[in-house]
């Protein structure tokens, strides 16, 4: 992507993630999107004189859990700090954040080939399965929402003070595709831990990108540009593709890259200068004196550990190893916890787990994209697979049963009966059909005996027609061959 041959991009991401908690970070107001303006506020989250922060244990636990999922070091003693700057969406004009002693440091995010954009999944960059190092994960409070009018702005403080986790990567990413896969992987893990809904389009996950270019082989970084207004994972990819090309074109023309913040315009498909950084902010960080340090070694870490889910990578391995699903199917299942739970329930009672995966991922999802709300009970798929494998119905019949299952969900066994589909496997009954077929088709019998193997198909067709499709095809084949060679 970055390569116009001799150039490579260096990309680092800062991802803000809204935590799924009942209440805000430092007060008991509910943490919920969509309330009437300023209806979910109190003296604390409005920054009223005299109010004090009371930290949300669950938000801390979820941040530690996130750190554990990414293999971070969890601080025994973490601290909150004040980050000072004036802005109307920040009630206290300082943000309670973490600076020197964040809850989590280090860790890494693995790039699964299937998390790359579809068109890149077969490329070397996708197959490289790189691991991207994290710098840190810390916990802070979100700011209010502003609405802009002609001359004034209006502020709704409902979002102010909701818990926000910041995940910072090292500048390890080299391509737009990797950034795409990184965010996808991040989202998958966050969903698996039930930490956040992590939907970028809903603002639950927000991403700032730092990107620079340099000649391949050079160690020093180029001048970095910050990209903002990225509202989807594919938007991040498009913005990076554009920005990397822009920077390479500029340096190839001998122009210097400005140290600046650029805004991605999704419609225009281009980035535009937002502000140039003349002077770095002086945030005057210092330890938040209203809060004691947080000890994680007295129960918090243990609580987080007990909530550790099976991580997507481990889940994929297990599904492939134990259930025999393909790598692609495993990645699809690992990416969607609800679907995966549904699948695992479906596969629980049958030996034919890969068949169940095929039914669910190929046929079922096409008709019912929301398995959680589907009236089709997952056990039905195991039953269907068993009916086919056990010879009760053939695959053509199975398709009929499936269609009926979607239309009128009930037990496949019952449906087979209802549709009158049960396969005839009784040898004597089939023998009668076969005898009839031989008697009625002397020409085909002759052809077969003359060595035209295909001629047997006409006889089979006769049996199937006579039996209304219920005859067990494999058995019919066997009986016919025996009779004809007799």
């Amino acid at each position: 992507m970055s390569s116009s041959g001799n150039w490579e991009a260096v990309i680092g991401l800062e991802v803000h993630v809204q935590l799924r908690t009942q209440t805000k970070m430092f007060c008991g107001c509910i943490n919920q999107y969509g309330g009437a303006p300023n209806s979910q506020v109190c003296p604390v989250c409005l920054g009223m004189p005299g109010s004090l922060p009371a930290p949300n244990e669950e938000a801390i636990r979820r941040t530690i859990l996130t750190g554990l999922m990414f293999g971070c070091r969890i601080a025994n003693v973490a601290r909150f700090d004040r980050k000072n700057y004036f802005y109307p969406d920040m009630p206290k004009n300082y943000q309670i954040s973490q600076f020197d002693d964040p809850l989590c440091a280090g860790g890494a995010v693995g790039l699964d080939p299937f998390l790359f954009p579809k068109d890149l999944q077969e490329t070397d960059e996708a197959k490289a399965k790189r691991s991207i190092r994290l710098t840190r994960i810390h916990l802070e409070e979100d700011v209010a929402k502003s609405f802009h009018y002609e001359e004034r702005s209006g502020i709704d403080f409902n979002r102010a003070g909701t818990p926000l986790m910041e995940i910072v990567s090292e500048a390890d990413l080299r391509t737009a595709g990797e950034a795409f896969a990184f965010l996808g992987s991040l989202r998958q893990v966050l969903l698996s831990g039930n930490v956040s809904d992590a939907d970028m389009e809903k603002g639950q996950m927000r991403c700032d990108v730092n990107v620079s270019v340099r000649p391949v082989g050079q160690k020093e970084f180029g001048t970095k540009v910050e990209l903002k207004n990225l509202n989807s994972i594919s938007g991040v990819r498009r913005a990076l593709v554009y920005e990397i090309a822009r920077q390479i074109a500029a340096v190839e023309k001998g122009e210097a890259i400005q140290h600046e913040t650029r805004r991605w315009d999704d419609e225009a498909g281009a980035t535009f200068t937002m502000r140039t950084k003349e002077k770095a902010h002086d945030y005057r960080y210092f330890p938040e004196p209203d809060l004691l340090p947080v000890r994680t070694d007295q129960g918090l870490r243990a609580a987080a550990e007990s909530g550790l889910p099976e991580l997507p990578a481990a889940l994929q391995d297990r599904l492939m190893r134990e259930n025999g699903v393909t790598a692609y199917q495993a990645s699809v299942l690992a990416a969607d916890r609800i679907l995966c739970t549904y699948y695992e329930k479906a596969a629980l009672g049958t030996q034919h787990k890969a068949v169940v995966a095929n039914w669910i991922l190929n046929d079922f999802l096409a008709t019912q994209p929301e398995p959680a709300s589907s009236p089709v009970r997952p056990e039905f798929f195991g039953e269907l697979a068993d009916l086919v494998a056990g010879g009760t119905i053939n695959s053509a019949q199975a398709k009929k049963v499936f269609a009926e299952l979607m239309a009128n969900p009930s037990s496949p066994k019952a449906l087979v009966e209802k549709l009158g589909l049960a396969q005839i496997s009784d040898a004597s009954a089939l023998g009668v059909y076969c005898d009839e077929a031989i008697a009625a088709n002397p020409r085909s019998v002759e052809d077969y005996r003359a060595g035209k193997g295909n001629a047997i198909n006409a006889l089979k067709g006769f049996v199937m027609k006579k039996s209304q499709g219920k005859a067990n095809p494999a058995q019919v084949d066997e009986i016919l061959k025996a009779k004809l060679s007799a």
Binding site: P37, C42, N56, Y87, R152, I155, F157, M274, R295
Partner: protein, 93 residues
């Protein structure tokens, strides 16, 4: 440590204060006198002393909602409001 040059107007800007020329002059001389006094800390050896870390104790809030203010109470002190939003001059980035 030598008495640092304190640019009162710059620092005031960080704190969103605008000072009159008189205030700037007066504060400059008063504050450099105070800073000169504070400088004496430089003579105290603190090599091995860790920064004060208050004792940590597990007094964290459970994640259980408590009532918010009514919208009316929340906005009752706001100098300017409309449609339940608090108004400020237009925010331009």
């Amino acid at each position: 440590m030598s008495v640092p040059k304190l640019n009162v107007a710059d620092v005031a800007g960080l704190a969103r204060l605008s000072l009159t020329p008189d205030e700037t002059t007066k504060f400059s001389s008063q504050l450099s006198q105070i800073l000169a006094h504070m400088e004496t800390l430089g003579q105290i050896g603190t090599g091995d002393v860790p920064e004060v870390v208050p004792p940590a104790q597990p007094a964290l809030r459970k994640d259980i909602p408590t009532p918010s203010l009514t919208v009316e109470a929340a906005l009752s002190n706001a100098p300017a409001q409309s449609n339940d939003l608090i108004l400020v001059p237009k925010i331009v980035e």
